[in-house]
């Protein structure tokens, strides 16, 4: 065999070799492996026993739970409440339709080669909220009205996060443009608005929305609690959104602005046709990330008395009919949020890799 046709030496990766390389390379690595391995093994075993092998899945009420492991029965018995809140049973098909449409609009976004997935996304941003606006509260087209006080559970969490992000997007764009504006007063107002909202915790904003908003409005005009929370969330979120979009605006090279000026485009045409389409595309991962944090932050509405998914669980774990089910309840909610957030963050990372056109070295 001549030298040129010789293959590189095969990298034999036997398990023993792999372990020596990755687990026991030095004496302190071996020590770490042993200590951490011991901790993992001793905690995973009992955890699996609790969650699966000793757990109770079948039955009707608390007496069917042995107490040795998790009482998942509690979750399956109360699942309806955790998903729909107090939404009437016979009308829940309306919420189901919205869940289905939500999946139709956004599941294709995770599949790379799905035909026309852009249009599904656009439907999710435009048609979906309109349908939801008529379908969920009812009161028209012969649909029975369901008061917003009866909404709750996972459905309410999704509504809050979805409307929060959708409504804050246009306000955020305007604020970001304002902050980059050449007019000092517009810029000053935008900076003050953004920085004040970003500095205060969401909980104070929600308190303000629920306590002070009724004081601000003229007499006789009032919103329901849900609407007030939504206004607070939207204002707060739009400040964060503005900062994300500003990052995109700053990343667009000066030449693009100047080229648009040279073509004689006015301000709105320059921004709307040249700058924003590029900037928004750049910041999609950033927007997705703020969506994840908003999604987690919607749990805070339980403090002002709305029943989101955590609120429904929190109100049932203290139910005397079930004893010591707090951990099961929290694990269920944690799992719901984790699935959503982890999935979306993976999607965002994927997108970031794809949109990264390789300016970095």
């Amino acid at each position: 065999m001549t030298e040129s046709t010789m293959k590189p030496p095969k990298k034999a990766l036997t398990p023993v070799k792999w372990m020596r390389e990755h687990l026991f390379s030095t004496w302190y690595n071996s020590l770490l492996t042993v200590v951490v391995g011991y901790l993992v093994v001793t905690s995973v075993g009992p955890l699996l026993n609790w969650a699966l092998f000793d757990a109770n899945f079948q039955g009707a009420d608390a007496s069917d739970c042995s107490g040795a492991g998790a009482c998942w029965l509690f979750i399956s018995q109360r699942l309806n409440f955790f998903i729909y809140g107090f939404y009437p049973d016979e009308l829940q098909w309306r919420v189901d339709i919205m869940f289905l449409l939500l999946a139709v609009a956004f599941v294709p976004q995770f599949i790379e080669r799905f035909p026309g997935r852009k249009w599904f996304g656009i439907f999710g941003m435009t048609g979906l909220p309109v349908i939801g606006y008529f379908l969920i509260p009812g009161g028209n087209f012969g649909l029975e009205t369901v008061e917003s006080t009866k909404w709750g559970g996972l459905m309410l969490t999704l509504i809050l996060a979805y409307i929060g992000i959708l409504a804050s997007l246009p306000i955020g764009v305007l604020l970001a443009l304002g902050r980059r504006s050449e007019m000092p007063i517009i810029r000053g107002l935008s900076v003050v608005f953004i920085e004040v909202w970003r500095a205060v915790p969401l909980i104070t904003v929600l308190f303000m929305a629920s306590v002070m908003l009724p004081l601000f409005l003229p007499e006789g005009m009032n919103f329901e609690k849900l609407m007030r929370a939504l206004i607070g969330i939207t204002l707060w979120q739009s400040a964060y959104m503005a900062e994300v979009i500003r990052g995109g605006l700053q990343a667009i090279p000066r030449g693009q602005y100047e080229a648009a000026d040279a073509l004689g485009l006015g301000y709105w045409k320059k921004m709307g046709l040249v700058v924003l389409p590029q900037a928004l595309k750049l910041v999609i991962p950033g927007i997705v990330n703020t969506f994840i944090s908003l999604f987690k932050d919607t749990t805070l509405v339980l403090i002002i008395g709305l029943f989101d998914v955590l609120g429904t669980v929190q109100s049932t774990v203290t139910d005397p009919a079930w004893q010591n089910v707090a951990v099961e309840g929290y694990v269920f909610v944690a799992f719901c949020f984790w699935i959503f957030c982890f999935g979306i963050s993976r999607y965002s990372q994927n997108l970031e890799r794809k949109l990264d056109t390789g300016h970095k070295t």
Binding site: V40, A199, M208, F216, E219, K296
Partner: protein, 395 residues
């Protein structure tokens, strides 16, 4: 005719096409809109408050509060004023924020470094921690620690004992309190002297290194001085420290320092949650230092420790500091979730109880928001100063 052409300027745009006129017009419009909105809000609020019989002004701060608070760093009882409740809430917020920032930074740096470990198991365990913790809402984690973990602890009589001096039960964690006796001032004095000596030695060692190239073991000597001097002073002064050990009295513990479960749960949840974000920041900071830097310093003959201390960490810190700042701010803001489990922080005490009792929503909310604004702006100011100090000095 000739004269006229010289005098007249080229025909400019019509005033409504002139960008300067336009921008002036829009700015005046914006100011007018803001003033109009502000005016309407004030008018509405005043008339609403009048019709509901709510008084205005900050006079309520001097009135008697009349409610108890389970934990306060400043002396407080229910006969004190509403103004006092503000200070109680503020100090409690600052306490839990400071504790959280310290713990989250330590844990976050450890996990961030572990994430990059060559040890497969350690790296994967850290990855698991990060991905699980940061995708679960903070409020849920606070509930978990407070209701599911700390709430399930035994009652005071069945307390978990640690060495007969520390007790853990569902009322909190009881630890001995150090009481300084006469003569402890000597120890403080020795500590101050030690710090001064360390600063002196460092300056001298740096000067010597620049002049001769010899390296002085500054770190080891500094640690030795900082430990030995105060310990020596402690024994010379005759061990002037006593411990107030908590003991079971009736149904509860007395003496010592109590960490109430609300504080413990909030602190745990805030630290663990923020640590997962800090770990990712630390990881990306370390990865941002290019391999060439490490190789160059090795080529210069620097040992591993010095490579890390003089080359990698200073450059990584430059990337780490700005996002770290915003995590600290987030932690301080998130500490307001205390209100969900009843830890008496600023929002729970002042914006909760005080607001409910006085009804003066506008004043209370304005004060609270001003506090958070001040905290935010001062932390970002401090961090900007630090950031400027470590930023690349370009010529």
């Amino acid at each position: 005719m000739k004269k006229q052409t010289i005098d007249s300027k080229p025909a400019g745009p019509k005033p409504w096409y002139d960008p300067r006129v336009r921008s002036l017009f829009f700015q005046i419009l914006a100011i007018a809109a803001v003033f109009w909105a502000g005016w309407t809000l004030v008018e509405n609020t005043l008339s609403n408050m009048e019709s509901r019989g709510i008084s205005t002004g900050f006079g309520f701060l001097d009135e008697t509060a009349g409610f108890g608070i389970i934990m306060s760093l400043v002396p407080y009882d229910s006969t004190m004023s509403y103004g006092r409740t503000f200070w109680v809430g503020l100090t409690n917020t600052l306490l839990v924020s400071a504790m959280g920032i310290i713990a989250a930074t330590l844990l976050g740096f450890i996990i961030g470094v572990a994430r990059l470990s060559s040890n497969w198991l350690v790296a994967k365990v850290s990855l698991f921690y990060i991905e699980v913790i940061r995708n679960i809402p903070l409020l849920l984690q606070i509930f978990f620690w407070y209701f599911a973990v700390l709430g399930a602890l035994p009652s005071p009589r069945q307390s978990i004992e640690v060495g007969g001096t520390m007790f853990l039960n569902n009322r909190g964690l009881y630890v001995p309190e150090p009481l300084t006796q006469d003569g402890f001032g000597l120890v403080w004095g020795a500590l101050l002297f030690a710090i001064a000596a360390v600063v002196g030695i460092r300056t001298w060692a740096k000067k010597r290194q620049l002049a001769t190239g010899q390296i002085f073991p500054t770190f080891k000597v500094s640690v030795a001085i900082l430990v030995v001097l105060p310990v020596l002073a402690y024994f010379i002064a005759g061990s002037p420290l006593e411990w107030d050990v908590p003991a079971l009295k009736g149904f509860n513990f007395g003496g010592g320092i109590t960490i109430i479960p609300e504080l413990a749960a909030l602190w745990l949840a805030l630290s663990l949650y923020t640590a997962s974000f800090i770990a990712e920041i630390v990881r990306s900071g370390i990865l941002s230092v290019s391999k060439g830097q490490t190789e160059a310093s090795k080529a210069l003959g620097l040992p591993n420790g010095l490579t890390l201390r003089l080359v990698v960490i200073p450059q990584a810190m430059r990337v780490i500091i700005p996002p770290l700042t915003s995590q600290y701010l987030n932690l301080a803001k998130n500490s307001s979730l205390a209100t969900a489990i009843g830890y008496p922080d600023l929002v729970a005490v002042f914006m909760g109880t005080t607001l409910n009792q006085t009804g003066q929503a506008v004043e209370v909310v304005a004060i609270t928001m001003a506090v958070y604004l001040t905290i935010s702006l001062s932390i970002s100011l401090l961090m900007n100063i630090y950031n400027r100090a470590v930023a690349i000095k370009e010529r």
